[in-house]
């Protein structure tokens, strides 16, 4: 099973099955692949893909605001056993109701409150144990404000990472958007986040949306501004191992993927070596903090 490069930052992409041939032919351009969905049964390229690239589990495993079902935990475990990636990713999101009668079918942040913090800490630990691998968590932007919040997004994440020892998968366009809709400068917004916990960076573009009357997440190449912000994160992230181009869409063409990968690699062309001390310190050491609180929430 291929592994991430140990002596330099890995720059990879999401696995877009319709571009499998292109991906296989460009192993020099793509260091790793994030898996948003399990491969289709008739994906004849996948065995070769798995032999050629380290795979990062980035599927929807469940929302950590609620306890995961046995089904969800087993599925997560099976996927990780299949991919054997260096870590498993989930999101700071709460997108369906507890009775599951309603779902947004889209990333949506939780209320930043003590109650949700307890829920996320508790369930993250359960998921981490189930997959038997380090867990990294990705930030999700909000589009509107809710008066119930008890802390900022940055504080919520910082306290979560302190309590769980999980790694931070920082999605830079998400940070940019969250700052944009708060009317803040992105670097100023970024200042409160625990960048020392960052293990992986996501980069992508944003596009205007007519309903939102402003920019939002889009399967587009990262702009210079996003890449500059990502560089700013990378310089403050001693545990950083990978940068992933977060474009996962059937409309993505090979030419677009190639251009976006080249641009991303170029932005990180200065080798960002893994900290020398960290070489001897397995990444999983960051994940040994035990959760002592018991704030189990409702069934998933």
């Amino acid at each position: 099973m291929p592994e991430l490069p140990q002596d330099r930052l890995a720059v990879g992409a999401f696995y877009n099955p319709h571009l499998a041939e292109f991906i296989l032919e460009h192993a020099d351009l793509i260091d790793h692949l994030a898996m948003a969905d399990p491969p289709a049964a008739d994906d004849s390229f996948f065995p070769a893909i798995q032999q050629s690239f380290p795979l990062l589990l980035h599927d929807y495993l469940g929302q950590l605001s609620d306890p995961l079902s046995e089904f969800a935990l087993s599925r997560a475990q099976a996927l990780q056993e299949r991919y054997r990636g260096p870590w498993v990713a989930e999101h700071f999101q709460c997108l369906h109701t507890q009775d599951r009668s309603r779902s947004l079918d889209y990333v949506f942040p939780p209320l930043y409150t003590e109650e949700f913090l307890d829920r996320f800490c508790q369930n993250a630990e359960i998921l981490r144990r189930a997959v038997n691998a380090p867990l990294v968590m990705e930030n999700i932007p909000g589009f509107f404000s809710i008066e119930r919040a008890q802390m900022s997004e940055a504080e919520f994440l910082r306290r979560f990472f302190e309590r769980t020892g999980c790694g931070f998968l920082i999605d830079v366009p998400h940070i940019w958007l969250a700052a944009h809709y708060k009317g803040m400068d992105a670097r100023e917004y970024l200042a409160g986040f625990p960048l020392d916990r960052v293990v992986e960076i996501h980069v992508a573009g944003v596009e205007y949306d007519r309903d939102l009357r402003g920019p939002w997440i889009a399967p587009a190449p990262p702009s210079d501004e996003i890449l500059a912000l990502a560089r700013c994160v990378a310089e403050r992230a001693p545990e950083l191992r990978a940068v992933t181009l977060d474009i996962f869409s059937p409309s993505l063409t090979a030419a677009e993927l190639e251009a976006a990968m080249r641009k991303t690699r170029e932005a990180f062309h200065t080798r960002i070596d893994v900290d020398a001390g960290a070489d001897a310190r397995p990444f999983s050491r960051s994940f040994t903090t035990e959760i002592t609180e018991d704030h189990r929430g409702n069934p998933n």
Binding site: S103, L104, Y106, E115, F116, R148, D209, N298
Partner: protein, 269 residues
């Protein structure tokens, strides 16, 4: 994301469930988690009232976010469900998923309940109406569109059945059983590779479309016995009565119901 099975043979069947989704009354949130549910309901149900924690300007932004979510959701489902028609027709004026940018869809947004059966049917019907306007590439065109409509309804419905009586199997709300006058599995195999059938593939086929609680979608071919079982699974009779209605031993009925339960076509209670 739901995964999609290919057409498989399975000895079972169904009846179309009534399309019903009432307006959900907002429960009063006492915990943060309940409040989050309230917000999710507001974002998914165009007829609901804004949560108290949203001031007027934020409620307006939330409403715009709700429209964004709906457009994104149905665009994705239309693209995935109407894939055969996209492959075989050269006369499509636009991609069917572009209907989410139409005035007709804007009007639908004012009554949309994201993931409901009713909304899925309405959007699916909009898609069919558009596709029936183009020059039919073959006599099987209307039936292909009905196949894709039935598939779309499964993809675009996340509603779960909550009202059933224990011990009284009932057909799941979104399950569809449809009779086709073409051999759909053979036709679809050709369409998948962009080919048009050279031989006459007419022939009666009964297909059941269902989805599991976890979002996996099944299309299965029904035989006569399974059809009788699913027709009898109306939530009013137990296994003994269903077996009697289907004229089969109880153990056989139980076996068929279990298989139908596994693919989400029947709620076993």
């Amino acid at each position: 994301m739901p995964s999609v099975s290919s057409v498989v043979k399975l000895p079972k069947s169904l009846a179309m469930a009534p399309a019903s989704t009432g307006i959900m009354k907002m429960p009063k949130a006492s915990t943060d988690r309940e409040l989050q549910d309230e917000i999710i309901r507001y974002l998914t149900d165009a007829s609901s009232q804004p949560a108290a924690v949203l001031n007027p300007s934020e409620a307006e932004k939330a409403q715009r976010f709700s429209r964004f979510l709906a457009r994104r959701y149905y665009r994705d489902r239309l693209h995935r469900a109407f894939r055969y028609s996209r492959n075989v027709s050269n006369d499509l004026p636009a991609r069917v998923e572009d209907l989410v940018d139409s005035a007709e869809f804007d009007s639908f947004l004012s009554r949309c309940m994201l993931g409901s059966l009713l909304s899925a049917r309405e959007v699916g019907e909009m898609a069919i109406a558009r596709l029936l306007e183009v020059k039919a590439p073959g006599p099987w065109w209307p039936e292909l569109l009905q196949y894709e409509f039935s598939f779309f309804v499964q993809l675009a419905t996340s509603e779960i059945d909550t009202q059933f009586k224990k011990g009284f199997p009932a057909t799941a709300k979104s399950t569809i059983v449809r009779e086709f006058s073409w051999k759909m599995p053979a036709l679809l195999a050709l369409f998948k590779s962009g080919q048009v059938p050279a031989e006459d593939l007419r022939g009666r086929t009964v297909l059941l479309f269902s989805r599991t609680h976890h979002g996996k979608i099944y299309v299965v071919e029904l035989d006569a016995t399974a059809m009788k079982v699913i027709n009898a699974a109306n939530g009013e009779g137990d296994v003994v009565e269903i077996a009697s209605a289907a004229s089969i031993p109880e153990a056989h009925a139980q076996q068929i119901l279990a298989s139908l339960g596994e693919i989400g076509a029947v709620t076993l209670g």
